[in-house]
Amino acid sequence: MIWNPNKECMSRDEMSALQGKRLHKIVEYVYHNVPFYRNKLQEMDIRPDDIQTIEDIKKLPFTTKKDLRDNYPFGLQAAPQSEIIRVHASSGTTGNPTIVGYTRKDIGVWSECMARCLTAYGITRDDTFSVAYGYGLFTGGLGAHYGVEHLGASVIPAGTGNTEKHLKLIRDLGITGIACTPSYALYLAETMDKLGITKDQIKLRAGAFGAEPWTESMRKEIESRLGLKGYNLYGLSEIMGPCVSYECQEQNGSHICEDHFYPEIINPVTLENLPNGQSGELVFTTLTKEGMPLLRYRTRDLCSLMTGQCNCGRTSIRMGRIEGRSDDMLIIRGINVFPSQVESVVLSMPEFAPRYMLVVDRVNNLDTLQVQVELRQEFFTATFDTPAAIDELEKKLAAKLKSVLSISAKVQLKAPGTIERSQGKSAHIIDKRNL
């Protein structure tokens, strides 16, 4: 089934023409409403009228996470505050979160695109659908929620946590669809085993999984243990939230809502566009967004694009699985974590040496984060000759980490000089998750 065949099955020529028209409009819009973009375009001697076709996008400047940070909180917002009806925030690298404001129309587009995703997963208004993403500043919960309502299915706003009650509802209400992180899906399966609920007792048929990287083998495991078909759901808050791309029944790449989000693949070093099929950094331009439109936003996600009509009938361009990151961002329990965030916390406490190691693992299908630090020799004084005093120091660091990272980390103290001095960014990370 296809939610919006007019857009999802549009001929390539028509799509390009629509994208060109919308691109011109959005460039004109940001030129007049966002000083950041106006200055950038003027520096490059580009006027909105220079942008007429979608091919002209290559003339435009890129936008990075740093630009969002430098313009915190509302510097890149194009719509007046009176038009903003919702604000989400995602974690930032130096304490400042990324703030994204949405107009009523933006929320409408988001719901529309999310309904396309759900329909591709086989969800209809006859389904009961549970949203088990976090509700709140994170875009996952509310984003999926509005999509399910827009589609007309019954939404169960389960959120995360209270897994046993959630499973009871899945069984007793005959819930047929679920949206959550893939690791939470596996955690559900574990909890089912523990409670003695078998997959024959539940009616889950389709799962929309995203917000963190996952593998084909995880998909197979989730599908066999929950008895459903698992589909990829991709999105990022800077661009919109979950809904940017989705798998169909073919499960062969994720269809991009390219009438709203125009994708490019670039070489992250030379910034040159790469031909379809080649792996590189994914870049999105929001073609219709009013709240915070972004030109050529560098997602840092590495993947490739696929063209050609899909067997499902959709003509939209597809993106392959995310193969990695062009920066050192980690996604832990769906939350973006940058080693630099940990660094800023460690450096703020003189008791610790300016060295650290992040150890990420997956225990019982839940991501764990351990931060290893060294207590400086000169701070190991008579005050610290009891474990309780050192525990206190560990707790202080753990609390600071939690407030900056939004997830809890276990602090482990190492003897001085035992953590390797970093030679590059990735030297700070040991990721044992085997993704």
Partner: protein
């Protein structure tokens, strides 16, 4: 008296590295105890030359510190430790940690308290005998 406190990471070989360093320097350990948690421990040592041991360990990049603790000499008979501790309890002094050992037929009680000055006062008033290494 001076006690050597050493931060020990909970990893095989760490304790041995400390003992090797002390052996090389010819330091005689009189008593020792480890206070441990899951990740690390504090190794406390009474030895014949704590100042030199401290320098030796620092040179090996081992986290160590000198701590002032009290060491009281007792008769080696039942009830002695209780008798001494009750004196501190009466004076409203708490014990942070404590361990004991036997040396030449005498019991030695090593401890750190919440209030060093008042502890010293109690020791003087009650004529408790301090142990010197």
């Amino acid at each position: 008296m001076k006690q050597l406190s050493i931060f020990i990471e909970n990893k095989r070989g760490t304790l041995l590295a400390v003992l090797d360093a002390l052996k090389e320097a010819g330091i005689q350990i009189i008593a020792s105890t480890i206070s441990d948690t899951q990740d690390f421990g504090i190794y406390r040592i009474i030895c014949d030359d704590p100042e030199r041991a401290f320098i030796v360990l620092r040179e090996q990049s081992i986290s160590a510190t000198l701590t002032d603790v009290f060491a009281i000499q007792l008769e080696d008979k039942p009830g002695e430790a209780a008798r001494v501790l009750s004196l501190f309890a009466e004076a409203d002094i708490s014990i942070a940690y404590m361990y004991s050992f036997l040396l030449s037929g005498k019991g030695i009680l090593v401890f750190r308290t919440s209030d060093t000055d008042r502890t010293r006062q109690v020791i003087k008033e009650k004529s408790l005998q301090e142990f010197c290494s």
